[in-house]
Amino acid sequence: MTVDVISPQIYLLCGVLLFVLGLHALVVRRHLLLKILAVNIMGSGVFMLLLGVAARGEGGIDPVPHALVITGIVVAVSATAVALVLMLKVKAATGLARLPLSGPED
């Protein structure tokens, strides 16, 4: 197998791995910062996958996934910013940067 053929596949593979890694971390990590990072990692995985898909096309590089990734990144940035600020507020209000085990009710 030549490098040309295999390189998009590696992007795809890595993208998937990043996504799952992020997902796993999001599930098992307690700290909110880690969770937010995990979401970002998931996003990065998807972006990588998209780029891999763009690179794989036969008619040259497909520009659409690139545009999607740019948009996606901006969206991810926005969400991350909101999440981080919210985390700070939660920390300030509860003293913990993690989700409490039980609900606020009863």
Binding site: L23, A67, V74, S78
Partner: protein, 224 residues
Amino acid sequence: MIRRRFALSPALLMSLALAGLLIVVVLDLPPQPGLAGPVAQAMDQAGVGHPVTAVLLNFRGYDTFLELAVLMLAVLSIWSLGRRDPIPARPVQGPVMHGTLRHLIPVAVVTGGYLVWVGSSDSGGAFQGGAVLGAAGVMLMLSLPREMPMPPALLQRLGLSLGVFAFLAVGTAGLLAGHGFMGYPPAWAYHLILGIELAAAVSIALTLVLLFLGGRSRKVRHDR
């Protein structure tokens, strides 16, 4: 602790299963041309030379418009959460920092502007340019020992909504002029796109800085 972390928990098992499935599927993806062909065909009416910019600002301009909206909404959301914490006072930096910044920031401004302008024909564009500008702003923030004097609230808000506003105005104008929503007259497309890009870049840069600050300004009280 370590042992436990690497134990085969159900979560890990499931994640592995998902990973396996995803890998199988992804590697098995059939080759397909994507949209490279249609994009290439439509490039002559796009008004810009670079396909990604064409996709971003013309073919899928609506996406970009909403994406600007997301950014703006993020700032508004953060503002709605309350005022920002004061940036902790930092020791006065040495001359190296100041000197570097004094040179770096103009360079960044020029680079940003260039990136915006070049986006129509080459890699670059409002986001890239805006990001560089924003980075300059963040650096400036970090370098100052205390709060930077912020522009008045109305200006902040205007700058923030400039990109969305411009985009919306152009899009609506297209609708009223008969080119459909988000449609440009082909002749004016380049100028309109450039204008939108500039406005967007300003907004993005400002947004990034404000996002970095996190929260409403401490001095300017809009809510009175």
